[in-house]
Symmetry: C2
Subunit: 137 residues, 2 copies
Amino acid sequence: MLSHKAKYALKALLYLAEQDENHISRTVEIAEGANIPKKFLEQILLDLKRGRFVSSKQGKFGGYYLIKSKNDITLAEIHRLFDGAIALLPCASLNFYEPCSDCKTESECSLRHGLMLIRDKTLKAMEGITIASLVKK
Amino acid sequence: MLSHKAKYALKALLYLAEQDENHISRTVEIAEGANIPKKFLEQILLDLKRGRFVSSKQGKFGGYYLIKSKNDITLAEIHRLFDGAIALLPCASLNFYEPCSDCKTESECSLRHGLMLIRDKTLKAMEGITIASLVKK
DNA sequence: ATTAATTCTATCGATTTACTAGACTTTAGA
DNA sequence: TCTAAAGTCTAGTAAATCGATAGAATTAAT
């Protein structure tokens, strides 16, 4: 399941993608437009900025805007940024790999292979969902 | 990600599936064989029993055994039993549906459709992974 | 009756989650 | 240069969840 953070991030990106080119959106505007607690959204937007999905202008008349094409922002990326691994166990993960501590045969646990199959399919599906694909609904 | 409970459940089922027909396995035997904390495993086996994957014999010489074919126990079922919904949000879930509280257009949130696509693909993949498919590795 | 097993209920510490609070910094414009 | 309006940063917090443990109760074979 997605955390609220990830869900709000998607909704915020969706909001930004729906604005006119060159429009800058204030946090409060996004918060109200997408129904997200404002103070919580502040943190999320900072995370999105660190992830280079959006950028910001400070000071009066400042706000946020997309710096990545809505066609290039995928669900997979947002999931990883906020919720981490897409695989079902760390030992089956590409980006968040960790060996499992409780496997007797250290190199290969009994579940790893099957979970890697799942990961590949899920990842492929998640990479197919972009902000752009969500906007045109 | 899978919880430890779900992971241990899979490993316990795998252990049971590898035993001879008619063999009854004590909790402690499974715990040692699959490297799972015994007291924790007790709870998990009870859950698996309530889910009708295994059954038990009480008292001396008691223990656990599979009552469902290893070909018919899927990752999807175990995920649902221990970790709940497979969909990324409750509003996109088949078995754990709940409307999202923060969506303005109540019937359809902007993410729902895309997340249902993901759910269908993930579910299909997870239904393809059975205990039997994990055993023969 | 004894022993060995499952079953049930409760609890616990640590971590995570979903926020909130408030001080600080930056910028535009009067 | 002052002020209002914006983002930035660091903490904190209440509630829930997770991973596990404890111990008493029950059941069954000998």
